[in-house]
């Protein structure tokens, strides 16, 4: 095996062990933060399918997160006996359905036009969530009893315990991220990058640009819906904060800070965002502005985001010297 391969394998094992041990290492508030990181990481990865891979910048991506969250909450509020996993499937499927409607309008648009329709459709759904009080309870939001997980062999696993929630979320997110990674390695996934780089050329080569973009949009909606469902599950609550402008904005910030050019960039950005938020908000009220300025500096001077520091040749050389 080459050194790179060993390095990759080693870091993979390290991350796995670390994520399995988190409840032991950070027993208190750390688990909650870790769960948030997992869910937002999935959300940011779904965002980055569109942004990093296809070059489309959806400013209203919370639309799908919110749809997933509301779907999950409504199901368990009205039908508490539904199997847990079915709730996530429904959340993802409804996000897919909404994605078909919104994608139909905005996928054929490029650049700022796409971003604009994306944000408008999110605000439309926000208005629906706010005003359709009989279903969504408006700005009060809804609570529901967090369902337990029924497994065929092991019986019922309660989800009252935060450690169980953590492992369950870890499992779902890991499977989803892996699926997404493999999906992006397929010929269809490669054609996203192809279209981002040379849209005209791709269409001359016979790609149906519209359909390929729509496929990316739908894949992204499904994952965002799943993330929304998970977040509703974790907080046993859903409210307009799931679908508002702030949610859309934070996913943009996470992805860009982490680095949109790499598959795992958004994950790094999410970790940075959540840890930074937790750390800074205890120190100062002005943490958001520090974050905003960091964001602007990264946009202007470090397009690759934080992860490019790891990929940077100089930094890599420096790290390898340290290892010797």
């Amino acid at each position: 095996m080459s050194r790179l391969r060993v390095y990759q394998l080693g870091s993979g094992v390290a991350v796995t062990v670390f994520s399995l041990l988190i409840p032991v290492i950070f027993p208190q508030i750390g688990i909650h933060l870790a769960i948030e990181v997992l869910i937002y990481a999935l959300f940011a990865i779904s965002f980055n399918i569109l942004f990093g891979y296809c070059g489309m910048l959806p400013f209203g991506h919370a639309a799908f997160f919110g749809v997933g969250g509301y779907t999950f909450a409504l199901i368990f509020r009205h039908f508490p006996g539904t199997p847990l996993l079915l709730g996530f499937v429904a959340a993802a499927l409804l996000a897919l359905l909404i994605g078909v409607f919104i994608g139909f309008f905005c996928v054929r648009l490029s650049g700022p036009y796409f971003s604009l329709i994306s944000i408008a459709s999110q605000m439309f759904l926000f208005a629906v969530a706010l005003k359709w009080r009989s279903v969504t309870s408006g700005d009060d939001g809804m609570t529901f009893a967090r369902p337990a997980l029924h497994l065929p062999m092991l019986g019922e696993i309660s989800m009252r315990n935060v450690v169980n929630i953590y492992y369950f979320t870890l499992m779902v997110v890991a499977v989803a991220i892996l699926a997404c990674y493999l999906f992006l390695k397929t010929p269809l996934g490669n054609s996203f990058v192809c279209i981002r780089e040379q849209e005209k050329k791709a269409s001359f080569l016979g790609y149906n640009v519209y359909l390929v973009k729509l496929a990316a949009f739908l894949a992204s909606s499904i994952l965002a819906g799943l993330a929304g469902g998970l977040f509703a599950f974790f907080s046993a609550f859903v409210g307009t904060s799931f679908i508002d402008l702030n949610m859309s904005m934070s996913v943009v910030v996470m992805t860009v800070i982490g680095g949109m050019a790499y598959f795992l960039g958004p994950v790094l950005g999410t970790i940075f965002y959540i840890v930074f938020q937790d750390w800074m908000s205890s120190l100062t009220n002005y943490w958001m502005i520090v974050l905003g300025i960091t964001f602007i500096v990264i946009v202007l001077y470090a397009e690759g985001g934080l992860i490019s520091l790891f990929k940077n040749e100089k930094v890599r050389l420096w790290v390898s010297r340290l290892n010797k």
Binding site: F51, G55, L57, F59, F105, R108, L109, S110, G111, P112, Y113, S115, L116, I117, I119, A120, S121, M123, F124, A127, V128, L130, K131, W132, L245, M249, V252, V253, V256, N285, Y286, M288, I289, G292, I293, F295, I296, V299, L300, E303
Partner: protein
């Protein structure tokens, strides 16, 4: 549902007033977009900053008219600085970087406002000269709203004259349709764009100032007007000023009558209008570019 005639007249006037206000904000946005293809999300922050500056100036000096002068000057200067020292760096980096930068500025300005002025909604009184009501269609109507109407019509007229009748207007209009060619013919397009950007920011600030006494000054006002402006740009057509005017008035009326008839769905109507326009004419009512 039916209402007496004068209610319709009053709602229609409300709609025109809000529509004109919206136009003041949207016009700068659509011009900048038409010229450089930059969708400036921070434009809404200029509107918000205009209102907050107006609050401070009015509180310290006690004079609303002074704020109508100072606030747009401040914000226009800020706009020029933003374009010259931040936005200009991103032109060669592509649309995503431009969008992200203006987005970051929107974020930072929002936070700055929260730090400086706090998150409690503020209000300033209607200036003495324009306080009170006048009889209108058998009822009364606030003078201040007529002032907004008149003032924005005055600005619209000024803008139309400048764009249609002056040399600089011709340059701006031709730069909207083909900036590269205008540059090749010897015009300093970056300077023109700097001016348009600053002017657009100042217009947004003026809208913020005159909106301040009748809408309250709050943190979400930027985001609210931003969404309305987006709808205006899509409906009116990207980069089209007449389109922006018509669309602003349509949105104003739609919101005004929406609240009258179906209050619960008032927020939704404008998005429906946008969807319909996108289906029938994806370039917007007056748009020519993609």
């Amino acid at each position: 549902m039916s209402f007496p005639l004068e209610i319709y007249a009053i709602q229609a006037t409300h709609g025109v007033v809000y529509g004109m206000l919206l136009f003041l904000v949207a016009s700068g946005l659509t011009l900048v977009f038409g010229m450089m293809g930059v969708l400036n999300l921070a434009h809404a922050s200029f509107y918000m900053l205009g209102a907050y500056f107006a609050y401070s100036v009015t509180v310290y000096s006690g004079n609303f008219w002074l704020s109508l002068l100072i606030s747009p000057l401040f914000v226009g200067t800020l706009g020029i600085l933003v374009e010259r020292f931040l936005l200009r760096k991103t032109y060669k980096m592509g649309h995503a970087a431009e969008l992200l930068l203006t987005f970051g500025l929107f974020f930072v300005f929002g936070e700055l406002v929260r730090i400086v002025w706090g998150s409690i909604p503020l209000s300033i009184p209607v200036p003495m000269l324009l306080a009170g009501d006048v009889p209108f269609m058998g009822r009364t109507y606030p003078i201040y709203r007529f002032f907004i109407l008149g003032f924005s019509l005055f600005l619209l007229l000024g803008m139309a004259l400048m764009l249609m009748r002056t040399r600089i207007g011709i340059i701006i209009r031709s730069a909207v349709s083909d900036a590269e060619m205008v540059g090749a013919l010897g015009t300093n397009v970056p300077i023109v764009f700097l001016g348009v950007f600053g002017g657009g920011s100042a217009l947004a600030a003026i809208a913020g100032v005159i909106a301040a006494p009748f809408l309250s000054i709050y943190l979400g006002m930027g985001a609210d007007v931003l969404i309305d402006c987006f709808v205006v740009i899509v409906v009116g057509g990207f980069g089209s000023l007449p389109g922006a005017l018509i669309a602003s008035l349509m949105i104003g009326e739609l919101q005004s009558f929406g609240i009258l008839w179906i209050p619960r769905l008032a927020l939704v109507f404008q998005f429906l209008l946008m969807a319909i326009v996108l289906i029938i004419k994806p370039t917007g009512l007056f748009g020519e570019k993609e």
